[in-house]
Amino acid sequence: MSKRIDVENLNVYYGDFLAVEDVNMAIEPRSVTAFIGPSGCGKSTFLRTLNRMHEVISGARVEGKVLLDGDDLYGKGVDPVVVRSQIGMVFQRPNPFPTMSIRENVLAGVKLNNRKISKTDADELVENSLRGANLWNEVKGRLDKPGSGLSGGQQQRLCIARSIAVKPDVILMDEPCSALDPISTLAVEDLINELKEEYTVVIVTHNMQQAARVSDKTAFFNIAGTGKPGKLIEYAPTQEIFNNPSEKSTEDYVSGRFG
């Protein structure tokens, strides 16, 4: 399953502080969208509003709408817990559950809410998810070993396997390669290309080559200065952003003149 996301007039606040101002964006299903921009420009904050993870920080709130195939994620009576099970997230640093084995890690999300799953179904799901994350061949012989014993790149792919095991509609990635070496980064990037066959993928990255390599569309965020809100400057097909941007600041950023 893959769903589209439409963001309408979204403002993100931390308490009284306006962190991200007035974002409008349409994210197509089965595509990879990259968010780029200098540090502190609000791209991670914005990403986290797409599955209501920003609410973990007290005082955070939004105005505006985020529509997942037309359903407002911030509508009345919408449970953030349900939102997060439909929109998965992969974080900056690999975070497998250290007390769980590789197998348990993959099944962690599936077993939530006391859902029961038969052993054969579980075996199948573990294999499919790990295959989907290009990790099966590396770990199939040691599924009962702790997930924290894997290398950084393997751990990150385990986290991706854990996300796709719950069959989300969208996968959000917050700088998924920033803690990985180049080889592992390549493995994750290859995986992102495969994931878009089935999922809507949104990725925040500091690495512009990465955005150019993996994404179909790119959004450039910028900030006018410290204490000012972050804004969406330009949102266009990736080729256009990197080769022929319509905004001066986008061109300055992608050509390395600042940021």
Partner: protein, 322 residues
């Protein structure tokens, strides 16, 4: 940089210095400090050994004495009820304090708004600062009389269980009351240690759970408890150590007597209370007997600690430390 480093250098330092190597500090100070650390470490072992030797040496006469001269005919008969009494009181305390302590710690670390949680934290720490004699006095003069109707109720409706067999004590000075007071006393230890550990749960792991669609309680079960398991066990064992050795509160609250199964009649006795009550008038063999009882308590505490260590190390591979 180099000027300030020179200025800070002690004047007595006559060490020559090559130009390309930075000053690594005063080697004499290093030696003194490492000596002090080593001495401190050894001192702990010496103190522990001294305590053990003192206890064994002073207790020795009991094991060679004529059995007729001992209080209960044999040392084992004397020690057994005390062991059981001590364990009963401590178990009651732990059963009460562990769930409440963990619950309060969780509330402070993960549920309460920031401002409220700080206030509660201070109050809990304050509870730890109350001297045990105060707890004892409160238990004996306030809690014990107030709890009598509850004991009567237990004796009437649950009296078929040996532990609630009547008639209930009309002063309320029972091992159950002592256990409750002990539970309140060890509550701050469990709460503050658990809180410290709970708030150290890596944010990244908590977010991993939430990101999968976990509710707050599921997140706590998936990340906070596994992360804190070793710490919770340590906290409980530390609290158990205090409960086992607590003297004053039990002495004041408990109307001691011979071992009985019922928790709501007067009777039973703990090691620490037994020693404290009888020590002032004891001499000769009786003194040795009390010290031997102390030795047994010492050994029990040691065993408790070893078991705690074993439990903690069993989960090492999955602890998150790697």
């Amino acid at each position: 940089m180099s000027i300030s480093a020179d200025a800070l250098k002690p004047s007595g330092n006559k060490r020559t210095q090559t130009k390309d190597l930075p000053d690594v500090g005063n080697p004499a100070a290093d030696k003194i400090f490492s000596g002090i650390s080593l001495a401190a470490g050894i001192l702990i072992l010496v103190v522990l050994a001294a305590v053990a030797i003192f206890l064994v040496a002073q207790a020795l006469p009991v094991f060679t004495a004529d059995s007729e001269d001992l209080t209960s005919g044999s040392f084992l008969k004397y020690i057994l009820p005390l062991t059981i009494g001590t364990l009963i009181a401590s178990t009651i305390a732990l059963l009460l304090a562990t769930p409440i302590g963990i619950g309060v710690a969780l509330f402070i670390s993960h549920y309460a708004p920031a401002r409220l949680s700080k206030g509660i934290g201070y109050v809990i720490d304050l509870l730890a600062a109350i001297p045990s004699v105060i707890f004892g006095a409160w238990g004996a003069s306030v809690l014990a009389p107030k709890i009598v109707p509850f004991y009567d109720w237990l004796a009437t409706y649950l009296g078929f269980l040996p532990i609630f067999e009547g008639p209930a004590s009309q002063t309320g000075k029972t091992i159950l009351t002592a256990g409750i007071v002990l539970g309140i006393m060890i509550l701050p230890i469990i709460t503050s240690m658990c809180r410290e550990i709970f708030i150290q749960t890596p944010k990244l792991q908590e977010e991993a759970a939430l990101g999968l669609g976990a509710t707050r309680w599921e997140m706590i079960r998936m990340t906070v408890f596994p992360f804190a398991r070793g710490g919770i066990i340590s906290a409980v064992m530390l609290a158990l150590g205090r409960a086992l050795g607590e003297t004053m509160a039990v002495t004041l609250v408990l109307a001691s007597g011979p071992l009985t199964a019922s928790l709501i009649t007067s009777g039973n006795q703990t090691f620490a209370s037994e020693i404290a009550l009888n020590f002032p008038e004891a001499y000769g063999l009786r003194m040795s007997e009390l010290i031997a009882a102390g030795l047994v308590l010492f050994v029990i505490t040691l065993i408790v600690n070893v078991i705690a260590r074993l439990i903690v190390s069993r989960y090492k591979e999955f602890s998150g430390a790697n």
